[in-house]
Structures are given as structure tokens and as C-alpha cells.
């Protein structure tokens, strides 16, 4: 029998459980926290409540399922990388409906109750589906977020000749390439003037855009969908705001995400967009912590409140929360709003820190060759690096991240930064 016991309440069986550490959410932040706690506290009971039906997995890998290149078991988190801790109980299909910080307990949708000494809210985020688009509930209209979504997309590939992707962000690009891999014709509809507008200014994205065009992706910029048409077979087409109609059998919506905070209504835990976390990852009520996409943290450069939806950031904050929950007071260093490395269409790129420079006072250095582009953004005084974009050649990107994050005085090696020749030796003298 698992920890906890069964008791009678209001005439129905309601299971009651007690765990020293309860973690709500079984993805990056939650699992990183769980394994960190286990490394610091060998005996404390740890229970992870995940609303997804699947055991924890590496979410960024789900496009590979759509592409037919990985199976769900290839993406399992437990037992991979640093996730080797033992005795972490994971309850799948467990959706938390309410939190009572005074009674230190959580109530699941099915009525089960979980008492805790410390709780981490790592409920993540969900895709934002613009309400102004009609017909988004149709079969074949996806927002790729979970392994279940990926299975649904993969299952529809055989019936899909043309897929329309709404939104030009990284996730939709990954999904688009997964579909191209399967021989599906793909059109990307982007409202912004260029793809990846969150990660770089339009004029800095030309190499990535060229790589996407060359890879066979059709891209419409400055356009938005107003409606998705469907019949008994599911999606049949999309109508754009210019009146144009496109026949398609699949739509994928990639319009950003929203934090999952609704379960905290009435709990008294402070929510301002996301869950407000202090420098030590604590939420506003005793014994509560927050990490990952759902948490509001701060930008290390500006100090401004910030929310991100990145695996790497979620792991980092989850680990920090795990330390604090295990009683080792650890300050979270915050995160850049933009911190992405990836490769699309054989074009690697990195964007980090301040990358949008249309407004604001910065010293900017752009360098380009036929196959590479880089942009280094310094503060107005020119002595601090605040942002960097590398396309084509991302060598030693970690050093530039370090320089930005530590707010290093770059006067000793600024030419090496601008020339992209920085190496660790520069830090040694």
C-alpha cells in the first residue's frame, strides 16, 4: 500500500496521502526539483503529481515522435542524464484542483487529498489558442505541447497532404520540420514581419529565413488566420485575414503559452500573471515554492520580472527550488528572457540576452559572411555585453553567455567578443 491511508469523508471513499515534499507538475522544473531534493535528503518522501497520462519525458523531444524518429520510450526522463534519483513517487493522471496553504494540503480533481510539508508549484504552461480564430476545436487542429498531442499529430500525418502552421516561433518551426520529414507540404503563417521574431530582429533573421526557404517550407508573413474549416473528416482548410482560403488537413497553433495558475484561485498564493517567486524561489505562503514556466522570476541584467517557457531555465530554477525545499538556502540567479540554442534546417543559431535593439540605447556590432551572422549588443558605455545572436557559427557561445550573465567588464577582451574569437584563456589574466 502506498504512503497514506484511506478514510471515509462525506460518505465516499476519499484517499488521503501525506508526503514530506509534494511537487505539482512532472516536467522539467518539477523533476529537476525532485531529483535535487533526493540528492540532498535521502529519506524524505517525495511525491510528484502530474496531470499528464505519460510518465515524465523530455518535452523538447516530442517533434521527433511526429517525425517518426523516436518512440515515447526513447524520451523517458527517469534514468536519463542527471535524473537518476531513487524513491521518487510519480502519480500520473493526477490533476490538482485546489491548494489549501493553511492546512498544507492539495485536493485533486478526483477528490484525493495530499498533505505536504513543502510544496512546489511547477505546473508549467499550456498553449495559447487565440479566441479570435474560429474552429480551433476541430479534429486535426493541434497545439503541440504534450506527448499526447504529438501522438495525435503523428496519427493524422497519413491523412494530411498539407499542414498549416499558425505562428513562426521555434516550437512551430520544429513541428513544421517534423512534418516535412514525413513528406507533408507545410505552410507557415506568421503575423510578424519575419519568423522567430521573439528571438531576433527581422533583419537579423535572414540566414535562418533563407535556410527555411531552401528546406521547402512555405512562409507567409504579415498574415493571420481568422477561421479553421472542418467537416466530419476533421480540418479541411484555413481562412486568412486577407480573405484567402487554403485547403489543408492539419493546423498547428504555435502562438505562445500561458501559465497554469487556475488551481491556486482562492488559495492566497500571490499570482501576478504567473506565480510570484522571491529570490529563493519561495511563493507567498508558508511552505510553498514555484519554479519553471509558471513562475515569475527576474532578469539578471535588468532585474525586471520575467516569465520564460524554456526547458533549460525550468531545470535551473527547479534545481534551485529543490535546494531551498531541502533546507539549503540558495538564491536563484534569474534568467535571460531569451536564451535559445538550436538548429533548424541545418542552420545552427544562438540568441541570448538583449537581442531586440530597435528601441533603447545600445552599442551594436554586426558582422556577416556568406554563411554566418553575428550581432553583439553592448550597453551604451560599451563595457558590458548584454546580448548576442550567432547564426551559422555558434562556437564558444557559452563563454558569451557567461560574460553577459556575470556582467563582466569586457574592456580587456572586447575585440575578441566582436570578432567571435573569445576563449577561456581571456578570463585567466
Amino acid at each position: 500500500m502506498p504512503p497514506g491511508s484511506l478514510s471515509k469523508r462525506k460518505g465516499v471513499d476519499v484517499s488521503e496521502h501525506q508526503s514530506q515534499y509534494v511537487i505539482v507538475g512532472g516536467s522539467a522544473a518539477g523533476m529537476a526539483a525532485a531529483h535535487t531534493i533526493r540528492a540532498k535528503d535521502a529519506r524524505g518522501t517525495i511525491t510528484v503529481l502530474s496531470e499528464e497520462p505519460d510518465a515524465p519525458y523530455f518535452r523538447p523531444l516530442i517533434p521527433f515522435l511526429v517525425a517518426g524518429q523516436k518512440r515515447p520510450e526513447d524520451m523517458a526522463l527517469t534514468g536519463s542524464g542527471p535524473y537518476m534519483g531513487a524513491d521518487i513517487e510519480v502519480k500520473t493522471g493526477a490533476r490538482v484542483a485546489a491548494c489549501d496553504p493553511d492546512g498544507r494540503s492539495l485536493t485533486l480533481e478526483d477528490g484525493a487529498r495530499y498533505g505536504y510539508e513543502k510544496v512546489l508549484f511547477a505546473t508549467g504552461s499550456r498553449p495559447y489558442v487565440p479566441p479570435e480564430i474560429e474552429g480551433t476545436a476541430a479534429e486535426g487542429a493541434f497545439a503541440l505541447r504534450t506527448l499526447a498531442d504529438a501522438r495525435g499529430m503523428a496519427a493524422r500525418v497519413a491523412r494530411t497532404a498539407h499542414a498549416v502552421m499558425l505562428g513562426g516561433g521555434l516550437l512551430n518551426l520544429k513541428a513544421a520540420f517534423a512534418l516535412l520529414e514525413r513528406g507533408v507540404k507545410v505552410t507557415l503563417v506568421v503575423y510578424s514581419p519575419e519568423v522567430l521574431s521573439q528571438l531576433m530582429d527581422p533583419e537579423d533573421a535572414y540566414l535562418v529565413r533563407k535556410a527555411l526557404d531552401d528546406a521547402g517550407l512555405a512562409i507567409l508573413t504579415g498574415a493571420a488566420a481568422t477561421a479553421i474549416q472542418s467537416d466530419a473528416s476533421g480540418v479541411t482548410g484555413v481562412t486568412l485575414d486577407n480573405g484567402e482560403k487554403m485547403a489543408c488537413q492539419m493546423v498547428c497553433i504555435g502562438k505562445g503559452v500561458r501559465p497554469n495558475v487556475e488551481f491556486l484561485q482562492g488559495s492566497g498564493v500571490a499570482v501576478d500573471g504567473g506565480i510570484v517567486a522571491d529570490r529563493y524561489t519561495a511563493a507567498s505562503r508558508p511552505g510553498t515554492y514555484a519554479a519553471g514556466d509558471v513562475a515569475v522570476t527576474h532578469d539578471p541584467i535588468s532585474g525586471a520580472p520575467i516569465m520564460t517557457a524554456l526547458w533549460t531555465n525550468a531545470v535551473e530554477m527547479g534545481r534551485c527550488a529543490g535546494m531551498n525545499m531541502a533546507g539549503i538556502k540558495t538564491a536563484y540567479t534569474g534568467t535571460f528572457g531569451i536564451l535559445n540554442a538550436t538548429q533548424v534546417a541545418d542552420e545552427p543559431f544562438v540568441a541570448m540576452g538583449v537581442v531586440h535593439t530597435k528601441s533603447g540605447d545600445y552599442e551594436i556590432h554586426r558582422r556577416a559572411t556568406a554563411a554566418t551572422f553575428r550581432k553583439l549588443v553592448f550597453d551604451p558605455g560599451g563595457n558590458r555585453l548584454v546580448g548576442a545572436v550567432f547564426v551559422g557559427d555558434i562556437r564558444n557561445a557559452g563563454l558569451y553567455r557567461y560574460v553577459i550573465r556575470e556582467r563582466m567588464d569586457v574592456s580587456g577582451f572586447k575585440p575578441a567578443i566582436i570578432d567571435h574569437t573569445l576563449h577561456y584563456g581571456h578570463f585567466m589574466r
Binding site: 529537476a32 538550436t342 564558444n396 563563454l399 553567455r401 585567466m428
Partner: protein, 168 residues
Amino acid sequence: MSQPKEIFVRTDRCVGCRSCITACAVEHSASKTLFGAIAETPRPKSRVYVEWVAPNHKVPLVCRQCEDAPCMHACISGAIHRDADGVVRTDADKCIGCWTCVMVCPYGVIGRHLEEHKAYRCDRCPDREMPACVDACPTGALVYQTVPAYSGAARQHASRELVQAEGG
């Protein structure tokens, strides 16, 4: 438990001959011979680097096997783990070539294998007693020792210098 050995770098001894780079690439080639390695496609990759710093210092750089390895935690596919010997390893089968590890490594010692679309890094030469780079270093700039042995030697050296400085 026996102490694991680490690769220590003595920058004062490096003359920038790059023997370590050649030896590393050869060790990580299919043939494991210099002449075979030169002819191989894709070209075998070295996991050790030698950088130059003004006015004229040479700095060998190799994976530090960080205690709190940023690459391992940042990896979005679970491809990086620490083995029982404390060596941080990249599992090429799991690596998807997203380069997140490259973005977070503060030492710049994770390479991108473009032909295979995989990240690569020092693996401490699992088939050898002594890593190839250390074996090849002609000046003793790379040292393969346990922490107590290395720090003991450093103390010995410092003590001798102290005695000499005092006119001993």
C-alpha cells in the same frame, strides 16, 4: 573508494606545440594511427584545445568535468550523464544536436560534429590508462593525477621555493 584522477593544466609549462590536439584526434579516429587519421573522412576531432593569450601565453583547455556540470542539466534530451568514475559523458545516440550544451559551457570545450550532427567532448580516453593528450604532452603541461597527489606535489614545490627564497 579510490580517488578518481583528473587532468590538471599547468599553463606555465605549455609551449603551444599542439601535440595534445593531434594525439586526441588520433585517439578518437577509426584507425587510431596518425597516418590513418589524416586520411579519414570525416576528419577525426580533437577534444582538447590550445588557445593563445597576449602577450604570449598558451592555454590548453579540456573539459573540467564540472562538479555542477551546466551541460548535463541544460541538456534537453537526457544525453549527458556522469558515470561512476565522475566523468561527464555525452551519449551520441541520445544527442539531437540542439547545441544547448555549447550555449551553456563556460569553458567552450564542447565541440559540434557537423557531419554527424552531434556534440562531442573529452571522454577521458576510456580505452587508455593515461589520456592521449597527457601522454603526448612533452613539457608536463598536462598532468593526470588524483587531487590529493597533485596538491601534495604543489605543496612540495611551494615548500622548496619557500626554503630557497629564505636562502636555504
